[in-house]
């Protein structure tokens, strides 16, 4: 399973699709906080395309070092502690691109993000995608493919989400979904039919 078929796009390529949609949603010159910013690739592109004032948060020194090297402002530390240090609506937008699947309490992160920013962009891999279900059905194991590359014992994400999970959560918490983009398994083509089954990737723009 580790060798992905040539037809399926590599995650790095897919990531740029994610970045394009986020860039379309981000207002020019806005103040953007990227939680789980990694090496700052997304923020760098937003700084270039939208002239945003960006700040990233991540846990690892190497990630921050890579951000600093590409001129992206970044903070090493816990994202909740970071957000608590800021007044309400300090940021225009918080971005959680493939981050919420990895935090122990996604609801708390979203609540705090909605406090410090006017809008919150969430992007995640749809765990309910049919290939994942088929994988689980056929092998009775955690899906292993291009996106879920590791065995369970060395795994990220820790807390996978499906489109249905997420929308149920938003309804439960009265979080307004201002925009959403659902993409098929190629992470390119819009998915309009039964997204919880056929969307490979989901993006949401949340507002209070």
């Amino acid at each position: 399973m580790s060798n992905a078929p040539a037809s399926s796009p590599k995650p790095a390529v897919k990531r740029t699709v994610d970045m394009q949609i986020i860039a379309d949603w981000v207002e020019p010159r806005s103040r953007v906080l990227d939680l789980g910013c990694g090496r700052g690739v997304l923020l760098e592109s937003l700084m270039q395309s939208k002239d945003v004032f960006g700040i990233g948060v991540d846990l690892e020194f190497e990630k921050i070092s890579a951000c600093v090297k590409r001129g992206v402002t970044a903070y090493q530390g816990d994202m909740m502690e970071f957000m608590r240090a800021f007044p309400d609506a300090h940021f225009d937008r918080v971005i959680c691109s493939r981050t919420l699947e990895e935090v122990p309490d996604p609801a708390a992160v979203i609540a705090e993000a909605l406090r410090v920013a006017k809008s919150v962009t969430v992007g995640f891999v749809n765990h309910g995608y049919w290939k994942n279900r088929l994988d689980a059905f056929r092998y009775g194991r955690k899906p292993r493919n291009d996106v879920y590359k590791t065995a369970w014992h060395e795994s990220r994400p820790a807390n996978p989400a499906s489109v249905a999970d997420f929308e149920e959560f938003c309804a439960l918490k009265n979080i307004r979904i201002a925009r959403r983009a659902l993409l098929r398994g190629d992470w390119k083509t819009p998915c309009n039919f039964r997204p919880n089954l056929f969307a490979g990737y989901a993006l949401y723009d949340l507002a209070r």
Partner: protein, 408 residues
């Protein structure tokens, strides 16, 4: 998480050495008004430079030293020197602070004792050392004095100001005091507000000095003075620069073998600051462990630290500089930390170290967070080390890569 890219491997060019360097003196003949309201008719700053000033005069990196540091931060003064400058691992051709690109300047701070004007300098009015008549110095005074030096060198702007500990305080003050002049601030293992614990340690050091009869209200001859007090101050301070883990790794409970006793009956002549009590004085047989001689390696090491310090540092300077650190509180000085940083124009990088308990990570984080709240560009990175406060001097490829990336 955008982790697709792999981090480019750091450039593996073999770093060179700054090599032989010579300190120089800048003499300011203009009078200097201290924050305290006191004045000096003029002052001297001893400094060193490495690399070359470019035609635009804008490739200058200023290094700010810590409490007991000095202007000699890289290279050697003589071929026979065993010790290099205190930040030689960071500064040099091809190193993180690359002297083939940057013109590096470091000066001994105002109030210091390594060639810059301080309490051990001669007061022209009396012909004797200033002692405690020297004006009280603040971190801001140190920075303003450095600015005069840079002006005299024709430096038009600073590419970066870098410093750790008290040097980090100066870095922050530089960004506040001369916002248009500084483009990058790199502060490590520091604070925007000296804590009660920090003031407490400084006070113990000062009391050790001032309670030593040799201090004599600050009036003592060169090479004399409160040698025991200063050595004790240094021993105590040294503990705050390291960590429980690093001390235990280095010394553990390792024993120090007793020195052979002199047999002529006369107590050994000692010029040491800390004369070692002998077993005979304590009334026990030689060789017994029930005495107060040096028994553990760590004791011996601290004594060595204390004794080597008194040969290079002036006790009054120690009082003045620790006081300057005590008074450093940007939030109080400007109303709030955000207000203090209101006009900062530079891009900032703050680096904290997990095991630093003198200026703990949180105090470093607070600096970056306040800058961010004030709408400034400020990054924070935290290096996982167990070496305590002095971690900023660590030989660490990770730290070098961070610094290099920030300056690039």
């Amino acid at each position: 998480m955008n982790d697709a890219e792999t981090l480019e491997s750091p450039a593996r060019t073999e770093p060179g050495e700054v090599g032989l360097v010579e300190p120089r003196d800048f003499v300011s003949l203009e009078s200097f008004l201290f924050e305290s309201g006191q004045t000096l008719a003029g002052f001297t700053l001893r400094y060193e430079t490495y690399g070359r000033l470019n035609a635009a005069r804008d490739n200058v990196v200023l290094i700010c030293h810590a409490l007991s540091g000095d202007h000699h931060c890289a290279g050697i003064h003589a071929i026979t020197d065993r010790k290099t400058g205190w930040w030689n691992n960071l500064i040099g051709p091809g190193k993180a602070v690359d002297t083939t690109r940057y013109f590096v300047i470091c000066s001994n701070c105002l109030g210091g004792c390594q060639g810059s004007t301080g309490p051990s300098s001669i007061d022209p009015a009396t012909g004797r050392p200033f002692g405690v008549t020297f004006p009280f110095v603040t971190i801001r005074d140190m920075v303003r004095a450095q600015k005069r030096l840079l002006d005299s060198l024709g430096v038009k702007s600073l590419f970066a100001v870098i410093g750790g500990s008290m040097g980090g305080m100066q870095v922050l003050q530089w960004g506040i005091e001369y916002p248009g002049y500084v483009r990058r601030l790199l502060a490590m293992a520091t604070t925007a507000r000296e804590s009660a614990q920090g003031i407490g340690f400084n006070e113990v050091g000062r009391q050790a000095i001032m309670q030593d009869p040799g201090w004599n209200h600050g009036d003592y001859p060169k090479n004399g003075g409160p040698r025991v007090g200063l050595a004790i101050a240094r021993m105590m301070a040294h503990i705050t620069y390291v960590s429980d883990a690093s001390m235990d790794r280095k010394f553990g409970r390792k024993r120090r073998l007793p020195k052979p006793q002199k047999t002529d009956g006369a107590p050994p002549e000692s010029t040491d600051a800390l004369p070692v009590s002998t077993a005979s004085q304590s009334g026990l047989a030689a060789g017994s462990t029930y005495n107060f001689d040096v028994q553990f390696e760590v004791e011996s090491y601290l004594r060595y630290q204390g004794e080597s310090f008194i040969n290079r540092f002036d006790a009054n300077s120690y009082l003045y500089i620790t006081r300057a650190i005590d008074h450093f509180d940007l939030a109080a000085a400007y109303g709030s930390l955000e207000k203090a940083f209101e006009h900062v124009d530079a891009e900032t990088l703050v680096v904290g170290f997990t095991s630093d308990w003198l200026f703990p990570p949180q105090q470093n984080r607070d600096i970056a967070l306040a800058l961010l709240r004030a709408g400034k560009r400020a990054s924070y990175a935290e290096l996982d080390t167990d070496l305590g406060h002095d971690s900023f001097l660590l030989e660490s490829e990770e730290l070098y890569a961070l610094v290099r990336g920030f300056l690039a």
